[in-house]
């Protein structure tokens, strides 16, 4: 007879560890290490499976002050705490890109970023693209070129496309493919997504 509980190290455990580390890093940057007394160090327990911190997140031009668990990813906080569910989670392990958001101008997998790392950073999600009723040219192009099939990867494709256009207003087709290569589309709608980003570049 055998007994078996969990299976090895899960991604959660791994992130828990990283999360604890990042709390330390955040403390260093505040300069507290310079204080002579050891007691002055923060007393928060670092095992802190359920440890919480307050972070300020700048999302789509709005500031959010939130108490988040250290192990909560940016994707989870955007979706579950702020209610911006347009950022989808496809794999939750940094492979598929459905959760892509733009942070300080770069496209990042939000499932692989802890919310506590995002203090003070400028986060753009798919909900932040349109100006009121007016869609961003890349969104308009995704509609016209049938970018979404099931649509689950679409937010991520759009955000990677947006990040590319922010740094390169006139990309070649090869550059678009490369820039979106971290965004899987199981519907296989790659031709459409590339065409949409190229059209959006022309429309600007």
């Amino acid at each position: 007879m055998d007994e078996k509980k969990g299976k090895g190290v899960s991604r959660r455990d791994f992130l828990k560890g990283i999360g604890a580390g990042s709390v330390g890093a955040a403390v260093i940057s505040t300069g507290l290490l310079d204080t002579p007394k050891v007691e002055a160090y923060p007393t928060e327990t670092v095992t802190a499976a359920r440890g919480k911190s307050t972070v300020n997140l700048k999302v789509n031009g709005k500031s959010y002050r939130l108490e988040v668990e250290h192990r909560q990813t940016l994707a989870e906080v955007l979706r579950d705490e702020i209610g911006l569910t347009g950022t989808r989670i496809g794999c939750d392990r940094g492979e598929c890109g459905a959760c892509t958001v733009v942070v300080n101008g770069r496209n990042l997998y939000s499932c692989s970023q802890l919310a506590v790392w995002m203090q003070g950073k400028d986060i753009l999600t798919v909900e932040g693209l349109a100006k009121g009723e007016k869609l961003d040219p890349i969104q308009q192009a995704f509609i016209e070129h049938d970018g979404p099939q099931c649509g689950f990867c679409t937010s991520g494709q759009i955000m990677s496309g947006k990040a590319l256009l922010l740094r390169n207003a006139n990309p070649t087709e090869a550059q678009v493919r490369r820039a979106l290569s971290g965004n899987l589309c199981r519907c296989g709608n790659y031709n459409r997504e590339v065409a949409a980003v190229l059209a959006a570049a022309k429309a600007r």
Partner: protein, 737 residues
């Protein structure tokens, strides 16, 4: 058969829900957030075959935040759609594959639920197991079921699956040459982007399930049956879903687990799969071993085909396990025997055109090889043997397969580009290949309701779920065309069993035909009522009226007209049209969509890397209701086929029977970098039995794609690869530079 002049049908129409899909507003099942909602996770078996001796949940239950733990001891709920030939429960004892569900936990957040899984102590007694399907059929193999490992039929499905016509013996006698060979395909996962998820909530005795399903009506019927609830007490909602690709037109075990956890806790529950759960706990396309015997005349004409095959269904038989790749050829004498077999591996079930791409790979490779050995150009081989009759006797309701072959070959430049296999010099070898495919075009049960408001706007109410095909848009287009009212006036309500009428569900490429037919009939009902009201105003008889672009007019004198708004002034509230339709084929007629695919590849024989450089997909799908979304379907099916041809395979570690690549990266699904530009060609075609002449689009594109790539690799290298995937390793080993 010329295509009629249509107002909307055949125009490139952006999706009616495009705005929701590009702004993030579309609400997928995982986006449903309810007050007080708990999160659930599933514990899965680490063993391929084991009896559960005991389950101790005491430590898990003590973890703060854990609200309920359910398992095979405290929760015995049948999962009717989980096994066609055996009674399957949501938790089974014994467990029969690594990934079989053992328990589920609901907790106040998903972290606690995951932590709790690790605190559940399960004592297993290991049983002997078998992973390989051929080995499982040997008499001394460990038995997964008392009757053995050949999945036996129970009336809904048969085993072995057999089909035959003509006279096989006579056919082989007529042959000048007989070829025999074996082709092998592997288990690949649907890998839809949305992880499987379910949300359940009870209001008194009524259960609402937000499911990620292709078929809300079937899901409701399954839940009702499995939980012993009247249909009126089950509501299934699915507004957007992150792709189907098969085996989602029913209730799944996790829907039932979620309902049971919600009941146990009296709180709403959201159960989420991890990506690994999705790869190991559900299903993928059935692997197969296909033995062909093919008789041909000197000129390449097929005289007889015999197929003996084994399909690996994993631990439970959820679907047929059939192989239908011979469907696209004219075979006068035919016999097939397919043995769906149980093993202690991940369950195999429907994945886009379930019985086709693996089987087309086998048979079209076989034909390509025969052409080579007989010195015939593959183009001539496929053209000569293309299907002209269904199963050797029935007429097709429409058939433009010849045009697909001819026009597709012209577009890719077959005559100029084809060369003798392996003739390309150097380590970078160019190849070109082709194959035929398609999918059954079926007729059947559909229902629709259309409300015409007093201001001339329209609600189309249908039970379809748009899994990404554009079905909602297709239904709106069909309604607009059938009513004679512009698209801008059409609203569509779908995906909620409390509101929408029955739908067969979006599987087997049936929505356009089944529900589309009902939409047309409901529109005719609306028009009849409207014309009765408008007739006196135009001093005409109702049957002499027509409507187009929202203008009611006299057929014999279109200048006698009335805008819809005016016609509706005499209507007090609204006009409601309804229809339930259920057409069947007349004796001797059968329906099919067809395709001929062509591609060019570059094979680097030093690295084994295959790049599909050009792809032409020619399709006969009848009238194309919306070319924009239909082209996307074709492009997507081809990309999935390229993955299946070159890289995808669920690998199982033999000693532990554990899948070792249950994630996107290691399963190697195609990315932007692997996808060529796919040129889509819809040949002129009109099917008199389809809505506005339309047939089937969703599943045909994947069917010939695997074989097309495989045949192009043969043309490049001169080596025949008989086992999928045709990976870089296999190419490097086979081709010595």
């Amino acid at each position: 058969m010329a295509t009629k002049e249509f107002s909307v049908v055949g125009k490139r129409t952006p999706r009616i829900d495009g705005y929701e899909r590009v702004t993030g507003q579309a609400q997928y099942t995982g986006d449903v957030q309810l007050p007080g909602m708990l999160y659930a996770r599933v514990l899965r078996s680490p063993y391929p075959h084991a009896k559960i001796v005991s389950i101790d949940t005491s430590k898990a239950e003590k973890l703060p935040g854990v609200k309920a733990v359910i398992h095979s001891v405290n929760t015995q709920v049948p999962w009717g759609s989980g096994g066609l030939t055996q009674k399957r429960m949501i938790f089974n004892n014994p467990v029969r594959f690594v990934g079989d569900a053992v328990a589920a936990v609901a907790a106040t957040n998903r972290y606690i639920a995951e932590d709790a899984l690790e605190l559940i102590e399960v004592k297993y007694e290991k049983l002997p197991h078998v992973l390989d399907a051929a080995a499982a059929l040997k008499p001394d193999a460990p038995k997964i079921y008392p009757k053995g490992n050949l999945s036996v039929g129970d009336g809904r499905v048969t085993a072995p699956i057999q089909d035959q016509w003509g006279n096989l013996e006579k056919g082989f006698k007529e042959a000048d040459k007989v070829f025999e060979d074996t082709y092998i395909s592997k288990h690949v996962n649907n890998a839809q982007m949305e992880r499987r998820v379910s949300v359940a909530k009870w209001d008194g005795g009524k259960l609402t399930v937000w499911a990620s399903t292709q078929g809300i009506s079937n899901a409701r019927a399954d839940i009702s049956r499995d939980l012993g609830l009247p249909l009126s007490k089950v509501r299934v909602v699915c507004k957007y879903m992150g792709a189907g690709f098969g085996n989602k037109n029913q209730a799944q075990d996790y829907d039932l687990m979620t309902a049971m956890l919600a009941k146990a806790t009296a709180q709403p529950v959201k159960l989420e799969f991890t990506r690994e759960d999705d790869f190991t706990g559900m299903h993928g396309r059935w692997a197969s071993e296909q033995r062909y015997k093919v008789g041909v005349k000197k000129d390449g004409t097929i005289t007889a085909v015999e197929l003996n095959a084994i399909t690996n269904m994993g631990a439970y038989r959820k679907q047929s396990g059939d192989l239908s790749g011979c469907d696209f050829y004219n075979i006068p004498n035919f016999k097939k025997t397919v043995n769906p077999t149980h093993t202690n591996t991940v369950v195999a079930a429907n994945y886009r055109a379930p019985a086709y791409p693996q089987s087309v790979f086998g048979f079209a490779s076989m034909l390509d090889q025969i052409a080579f050995e007989m010195g015939i150009n593959p183009y001539d081989m496929f053209l000569k043997n293309r299907a002209v009759r269904s199963k050797g006797k029935s007429e097709f309701s429409s058939n433009a397969l010849e045009a697909c072959i001819v026009e597709g070959a012209k577009k890719i430049g077959w005559n100029e580009k084809w060369h003798k296999p392996g003739a390309a010099p150097g380590p970078n070898k160019h190849g070109i290949g082709m194959a035929l495919g398609g999918y059954p075009f079926r007729l059947g049960l559909g229902a629709a309701t259309i409300r015409l408001n007093r201001d001339g706007t329209v609600h189309v109410i249908v039970g379809v779920v748009d899994i990404g095909t554009g079905a909602k848009s297709t239904m709106a287009i069909i309604a607009s065309e059938a009513l004679g009212i512009p698209m801008s006036e059409i609203q569509l309500t779908s995906g909620d069993t409390d509101v929408t009428p029955y739908s067969i569900g979006e599987s087997s490429s049936r929505t356009t035909s089944f529900t589309g037919g009902a939409v047309i009939a409901a529109a005719e009902d609306v028009r009849k009522q409207l014309f009765a009201v408008a007739a006196p105003e135009l001093k005409a008889k109702a049957e002499d009226l027509d409507m187009r672009d929202g203008i009611v007019f006299l057929k014999s004198d279109p200048a006698q007209k009335l805008p819809l708004g005016k016609a509706l002034r005499r209507v007090e509230s609204e006009i409601i049209g309804r229809a339930t339709t259920n057409p069947t084929w007349p004796e001797g007629i059968d329906g099919k969509a067809f395709a001929a695919h062509f591609c060019e590849v570059n094979v680097d024989v030093i690295t084994g890397y295959v790049k599909v450089t050009r792809y032409v997909a020619a399709h006969d799908s009848g009238t194309i209701i919306n070319p924009l979304t239909a082209e996307s379907q074709v492009k997507g099916g081809v990309v999935q086929g390229i993955g299946m041809a070159l890289t995808e395979e669920l690998l199982i570690d033999k000693p532990t029977a554990t899948p070792i690549n249950p994630n996107y990266r290691d399963a190697k699904v195609p990315t932007h970098l692997e996808a060529p530009e796919i040129e889509v060609l819809f040949v002129e075609s009109y099917d008199p039995y389809g809505p506005f002449g339309g047939k089937v689009v969703g599943e045909p594109p994947i069917t010939p794609s695997v074989a097309t790539v495989a045949n192009a690799i043969f043309n490049a290298t001169g080596k025949r690869f008989k086992e999928l995937p045709i990976s870089a390793e296999k190419i490097v080993q086979a081709v010595r530079v």
